[in-house]
């Protein structure tokens, strides 16, 4: 557009609006035989047994269709030394393939269905600048930020998928997926503090033990803590978080000074949560740690202050932690030997460098494990994005250092 004759703003050197749209079918993670019900042979004491098929036959399984639409504009200033791109995108997935949990009465924990439509939308902004361009010194810098928001717009006639608890041995949030909500919302019981250590029956039993119980809120005041229904439905579950961050961001820089070069790359995400199972295990929070006198009549109400309480192996918001992070993904510093020096020994060019990953890693104040990006997907009842956001002993972030020497002959 900047080349058009009517365009006469000098400091804008590039102006390019963009629009694109397209549809793509995908079968997600569907296996070759998922629309057939195949008997599962298994050795038994009485001979070969044909077990119940792990997926119930569904001849209607089909592709999910993803329609992406993108509106963008590219701008360049000062002879394109500074460039900016702004995009707004929507992504509509129709007939999304979902693992829907069903009662075990049907012999399987979940069935595969094309059962809904999901719309995601967001804004991406990218800014890059060649800040310094001199013979001996050049510095380029770029930054980006993007947001993403997903909304379930249809669930094939249902208002909500069956809720599912995903975690370790029932220690996990209730995942809800309902029309108008996001995918994989985590719901649980609101806590108002941990039961004080002074109520522990035997604090000497193990190191690091806490009371393993939390005071909880009876949202509707009906005198019962109902972990299976939301407040709207007459229970006490409230939304406690979701794993999708509010925004992702990053910045990169490349600096060259004489024979030295340096580059770094930061990456971050802000506003997501993980439901972290780890503290339950390393604080031996297995419930039943408090004295009988704490609740003499076992009615679920602490006698000394009249508050409801639950053991920490329940669906409590106390296990929810901030998954935001900022990582220095990469830092490289190099030195290139002068060609006149290296040519003498028959070498075209030579460069030494040190590179490292995750030298700096910042995470939220309340995060207590070693990798806010680690989300568990390995348990047998994992249903996909609809139950995403639980952390179970994930491997720590790897920090690596590399020393290198490049030689070209």
């Amino acid at each position: 557009m900047h080349n058009e004759s009517f365009f006469n703003i000098d400091f804008i050197s590039l102006l390019k609006p963009r629009f694109s749209t397209g549809s793509l079918g995908s079968t997600s993670d569907l296996g070759a035989y998922n629309s057939l019900s195949l008997l599962n042979p298994q050795a038994t004491v009485l001979g070969t047994g044909f077990l119940i098929p792990s997926d119930v036959a569904n001849s209607n399984l089909t592709w999910q269709t993803n329609t992406e639409t993108n509106y963008g504009i590219d701008l360049g200033f000062a002879n394109n030394r500074i460039r900016m791109g702004v995009d707004y995108y929507t992504s509509d997935i129709e007939d999304i393939l979902i693992n829907q949990s069903v009662s075990e009465v049907f012999g399987t924990p979940s069935i595969r269905l094309n059962s809904g439509d999901v719309r995601s939308s967001g804004v991406e902004v990218e800014l890059s600048a060649g800040i310094i361009r001199k013979e001996n010194l050049s510095w380029d810098f770029s930054a980006n930020i993007s947001t993403v928001k997903t909304e379930i717009t249809d669930l094939g006639g249902l208002d909500e998928l069956p809720q599912a608890i995903y975690g370790q041995s029932g220690r996990g949030p209730v995942f809800r997926n309902y029309v108008g909500g996001e995918i994989g919302e985590m719901w649980g019981i609101e806590t108002i503090g941990m039961v004080e250590d002074s109520f522990i029956e035997d604090p000497t039993r193990a190191i690091g033990v806490n009371s393993s119980a939390y005071y909880v809120v009876d949202q509707n005041g009906d005198g019962v803590i109902d972990k299976t229904k939301t407040v709207e439905e007459g229970g006490d579950l409230v939304k406690i978080g979701q794993n999708t961050p509010e925004f992702y961001y990053g910045f990169n820089s490349t600096l060259n000074f004489k024979d030295f070069d340096m580059s770094f790359q930061f990456q971050g995400a802000q506003g997501g949560d993980v439901w972290n199972v780890d503290p339950i295990y390393y604080n031996s929070e297995f419930g039943g740690r408090v004295r009988d006198s704490f609740d003499a009549n076992s009615d679920g109400i602490a006698d000394h202050n009249g508050e409801f309480y639950l053991d920490s192996n329940n669906q409590l918001d106390a296990q929810l932690q901030d998954a935001s992070f900022l990582a220095l993904r990469n830092l490289t510093i190099g030195y290139t030997f002068k060609p006149e020096l290296t040519n003498k020994i028959g070498i075209n060019s030579a460069r030494v460098y040190v590179a490292d990953t995750n030298l700096l890693y910042l995470w939220g104040d309340d995060y207590t494990s070693y990798n806010p990006e680690g989300v568990d997907t390995t348990q047998s009842d994992y249903l996909g994005p609809t139950t995403y956001g639980v952390q179970i002993g994930s491997s720590p972030i790897v920090r690596s250092f590399t020393f290198g020497f490049n030689v070209n002959f």
């Binding site: 070759a32 035989y33 057939l36 019900s37 195949l38 008997l39 042979p41 298994q42 050795a43 038994t44 004491v45 009485l46 001979g47 070969t48 047994g49 044909f50 077990l51 119940i52 098929p53 119930v56 036959a57 569904n58 949990s101 069903v102 009662s103 075990e104 009465v105 049907f106 012999g107 924990p109 069935i111 909500e160 069956p162 809720q163 599912a164 608890i165 041995s169 029932g170 209730v174 972990k227 299976t228 229904k229 439905e233 297995f286 419930g287 039943g288 740690r289 076992s298 679920g300 053991d311 192996n313 009842d381």
Partner: protein, 437 residues
Amino acid sequence: MKHIYILFLGSLFLTLSCSTDLDESPPNIASSDSLTDFEGVLNAAYYYQLGAVTPMAVMGDFRADNALMLESPYTEFDTYGPGLTAMEDQYFGPFYTALYRSVLSANNVIENSTNTSQIGEAKFLRALSYFKLVQVFGDVTIILTSPDIGDIPTFDLTRQPAAEVYNNVIIPDLQDAISLLNITNTNGRASKLAAQSLLGKVYVHMGNFGSAQPHLADAVNGAAAGDVSLLENYADIFVTDLNSEIIFATQISSSVEDEYGFSDFWSWYLGNDTKSPRPLDASLIAAFDASPGDLRRAVNIDEVNARSPKYPQVGGPDHDWIELRLADVILLYAETLNENGASPENVLDLLDPIRTRAGLAPLDHTVINTQALIRQAIYDERRLELAFEGQRWFDLVRTGTAEAEIGETINPNYYLFPIPISEILASDGVITQNPGY
């Protein structure tokens, strides 16, 4: 030359067309609607019972006064409160899943097989599964078909009253099994004798001693015809699988991996699991103290290590889980006769072979001469004879003696176990939780 190439390429295009549709089922794997022999599906119905074994053992003995859990939250088994839901993943969940899978496999055989003995065995296994479900959960969902995906949204998952499960499923299934099966079993498969014994036991659990009596009489009197008799030595029952005293067992082999991923039943009894290394309950020691000279004592309890050495696992960890054995059936029969007003002599005589085998003198019917005294004598005999066989808790509940025997006030809500919470969520609340949990 050029023309030959063109012809050759052209012929390639012509010959590469398909004559059939590409939608094919993989030929090497069986598809569920192409089966003609349902033996494999029936084997699966047996196999799935494995997943219910350890939960049954822990519920039957650790919930009762035979064994104790030592580490939280396993201790919830001994506290009779709402916290037992924490044990769902290891016990009630796998138990529920395994039994419904057994039911579905049995349904498939009953619906589709034309082989009468296969149908008879499937009916026995379906009744056994529902009987276990009802004992543990009370009201449960009934499913008598093998559903298609199209049936799932409209299927009624509502839990049906336990009485309906007994009257509409368990009892008719066992009656059919009795008429379809042979008296002897082959390779430990379900037999007519097993179906008669189970039907008698079911009626006893319902408190219907009138209906129980003929079936238990058939079983006790017909045992010899089914090659079933009391073993001479009590300890041997728990060493050799499928010995002559076994009427029906869920067969376990170390070479067959089951779907239950936690400690096995015998390792709980042996104190091999760190959650309860010394599981023996003092109450059971006291019960054996009250029966001096009892040869069953050393088989059932090891006081030094506070555990039960009952399943010694000779030759590897694969002792079967005994579901029905003759001594159990004889004791049920004696109890039934007593409740139905038979003379003390007739009732107590039935116990003699069991007591003699245990090294004890027969009970004197001139001393134990009232219905109430005989009832208590039979309850006490059951406890010692059937310790660590997953029976005690369910006997305490059915006889209404749990509070008195355990010596604690127990809210009757906790006679039943919690429905897995995942079931309540997955059914959107149609399947409800038991009160108190």
